[in-house]
Amino acid sequence: MKNNLFTYTLRIADDSLILGQRLSEWCGHGPVIEEDIALTNIALDLIGQATSLLEYAAKVEGKGRTADDLAFLRFENEYLNAQLIEQKNGDFGVTIVRQWIFDTFRLSFYEALQHSSDSQLAAIAEKSLKETKYHWKHSSEWMIRLGDGTEESHLRVNEALISLWKFSDELFFMDEVDKELIAAGIAIDLETLRPAFNERINYVLNEATLEVPDSTWKLNGGRLGRHTEHFGHLIAEMQYMQRAYPNMEW
C-alpha cells in the first residue's frame, strides 16, 4: 500500500511539476502582459502544488529522498505525468487547450480528492482546488474567446484541440495502483469523474463554437513512465543544475 500511495502521489505531483515547467517557458513571451502574469501565476501555483505533493511522496517513500531529489533526479521513465502535460507549448492556442483539458480534469479530481481518507492528500487537494478553479476559469474563458473570436483563432484553437484530444483519455487511466487505494478511500475512482468532466467540456466547447473531436486511438503510457519524444529534452533542461552540480545547496 505504501508503494502504491507513493506512486499515486507522484502521478499527481508530476502533472503539476511538468506543466509548471512547460508554462515557465512562456515567461516574457506571452501575447499580452496580462497573460505573462496569468501564465506565470498558474506556473507558480503548479510548482507549489508539486512541492507539497513531492514532499509528501518523499515522506511516504521513507528512503530519505527529498522533494527536490524527486523533482530533479529521476530518470526519464520514472516521471509519471500524463503525456498531455508534457506536450510542447506550441502557439498560445495549443497552450490554452492543453491547460483547459487538464484544468477541467483537475477540477473534478480535486473536488473528489479533498474528501480522501488520506488527510495529507485531502488537505493538498482542498488548497489546490481553489487555485484550480481560477485556472479553469482562465483557460475556459480563453477557449471561448479563441473559439468564438476570429476565423483564424477558431481554426487555430480547433486544430490544437484535434491534436491534443487524443491525450485526454489518459487522464482517466487507472491500474493496480489505484485499485487498492480506492478501496481504502484514499484514491479516486476516476470513472466517477467522467460525467462532470464531460459536462464541463461540452459546456465550454459549446460556448466556444467548437466540438469534441472524433475519438480515435487513445494514447497512454505516461502513468507508467512511458513518454513522448519531447519529454527527454524537457528533462535535460530541467535537471541541468542538479546533474551538473550534484549534492549542493542552492
Partner: protein
C-alpha cells in the same frame, strides 16, 4: 489660451512643486515636463518588460523547487510593474501601444543592463542583488517624485524590489557558503555584472543632459553620480561580508570623504550598449517583437469576441 492664463497656470504648477504637492493627471503641466515624464516612465516600464527575459532564461533551469517558485514570482512581479508603469504613463495621454512600438523600433530605450546575458545560475543572484539594488537606489527617491501616478506606482514597485534584492543577495550568500564551484560561479557573476550595474545610473553628471531640469521639476531627487556613489557605498560591504571581491583594483575606502573611491567606468562600452551594440540588444528586441507578432491573432480574437458579446448583450 491667453498669455496671462499660461503664466497663472505655470505659477500654480511651480507653487505645487515648491510645496511638495503632487501633480495629478488632470492638472495643467508644462509640455516639457509631460514629455520628460512620458520618456522616463515608458523607459522604466520597458525595462521591467525586457527585464523579464534574462531572468526568464533561467526559470526552466532553476536548481530546486523553491528557487524556481521564487524566480517565477519575481518575473511575475516584473510583468506587474510593467503593467502599472504603462498605466501611469497612459495618464499622461500616451498609449501603451505607441510606447511599445517605440521600444520595438529602437526609438525608446530601456535599461542597458538587460543587454547583458545571464550565463549561470549565479547571475540570478547577481541580477537580484545588484540590478534590483541599483534600481531601488534610483527608485526610492521616485516614491516622492512630483507626478502623482508615477509616485504611487513607485511605492509599490520599490516594496517588491527590495524583496527581490534581498532574495538575490541570499542566492549569493548561499553560493558563497557552498562548494568551490559555487563560489567561483558567484564571483564570476559579480565580475560580469559589477560594471554594467554602475552604468545603470546613466552618464556622469558632467555628461548628463536631463538631470538638472528633472531635479528642478522634482522628477529626480539626486544626480546620477550621487546615486552611483550611494550604490557603491551600500554594495561594497555586502560583497565583503560574504567573501566576494569587487572587480575594481581602484576601489578603496576614502577616509576623508567617508565614501568609497572607485575606478573609471568604460563609457565607450556604455555608449555602445545603449546604442544597440551590446551582447543581447538585438535578441532582446527580437524576442519582444516576436511575442507581439505571435500574439497578434490572440489579441484580435479577444477583441472580436468582446465585440460579439457586446452586440449580443445589446440585442
Amino acid at each position: 489660451m491667453k498669455e496671462l492664463d499660461l503664466v497663472a497656470l505655470q505659477e500654480a504648477f511651480d507653487r505645487k512643486l515648491k510645496n511638495e504637492i503632487r501633480i495629478e493627471p488632470k492638472d495643467w503641466m508644462p509640455d516639457a515636463y509631460r514629455k520628460t515624464l512620458i520618456r522616463q516612465i515608458s523607459q522604466h516600464a520597458h525595462s521591467e518588460i525586457v527585464g523579464m527575459l534574462p531572468e526568464g532564461n533561467w526559470i526552466t533551469r532553476a536548481p530546486n523547487l523553491r528557487r524556481k517558485a521564487v524566480l517565477l514570482a519575481k518575473v511575475q512581479d516584473e510583468a506587474g510593474h510593467g503593467q502599472y508603469l504603462y498605466s501611469a504613463m497612459e495618464t499622461l495621454g500616451f498609449s501603451r501601444e505607441q510606447s511599445i512600438d517605440d521600444l520595438h523600433s529602437g526609438k525608446a530605450k530601456y535599461s542597458s543592463i538587460f543587454n547583458y546575458p545571464t550565463l549561470t545560475w549565479a547571475d540570478m543572484g547577481a541580477v537580484g542583488w545588484l540590478v534590483d539594488g541599483a534600481a531601488i537606489m534610483n527608485q526610492v527617491p521616485l516614491c516622492r517624485t512630483s507626478y502623482g501616478p508615477y509616485a504611487r506606482a513607485m511605492v509599490r514597485v520599490c516594496k517588491e524590489e527590495s524583496f527581490h534584492q534581498r532574495q538575490g543577495y541570499e542566492i549569493m550568500c548561499t553560493l558563497m557558503k557552498g562548494t568551490e564551484a559555487q563560489k567561483a560561479m558567484a564571483q564570476d557573476a559579480l565580475n560580469r555584472f559589477w560594471w554594467p550595474s554602475l552604468m545603470m545610473f546613466g552618464p556622469s553628471d558632467a555628461e548628463s543632459t536631463h538631470t538638472q531640469q528633472s531635479i528642478d521639476w522634482k522628477i529626480k531627487r539626486h544626480t546620477n553620480d550621487e546615486l552611483r556613489q550611494m550604490f557603491v557605498n551600500a554594495s561594497v560591504p555586502q560583497a565583503e561580508l560574504i567573501g566576494l571581491t569587487i572587480p575594481d583594483p581602484d576601489l578603496k575606502w576614502n577616509e576623508a570623504r567617508g565614501e568609497y573611491d572607485f575606478g573609471a567606468i568604460d563609457w565607450e562600452e556604455f555608449k555602445q550598449v545603449v546604442s544597440g551594440n551590446g551582447p543581447c540588444n538585438a535578441e532582446r528586441i527580437a524576442a519582444r517583437v516576436k511575442a507581439k507578432e505571435n500574439g497578434m491573432w490572440v489579441r484580435e480574437a479577444a477583441m472580436a469576441h468582446a465585440e460579439k458579446k457586446k452586440i449580443k448583450k445589446a440585442s
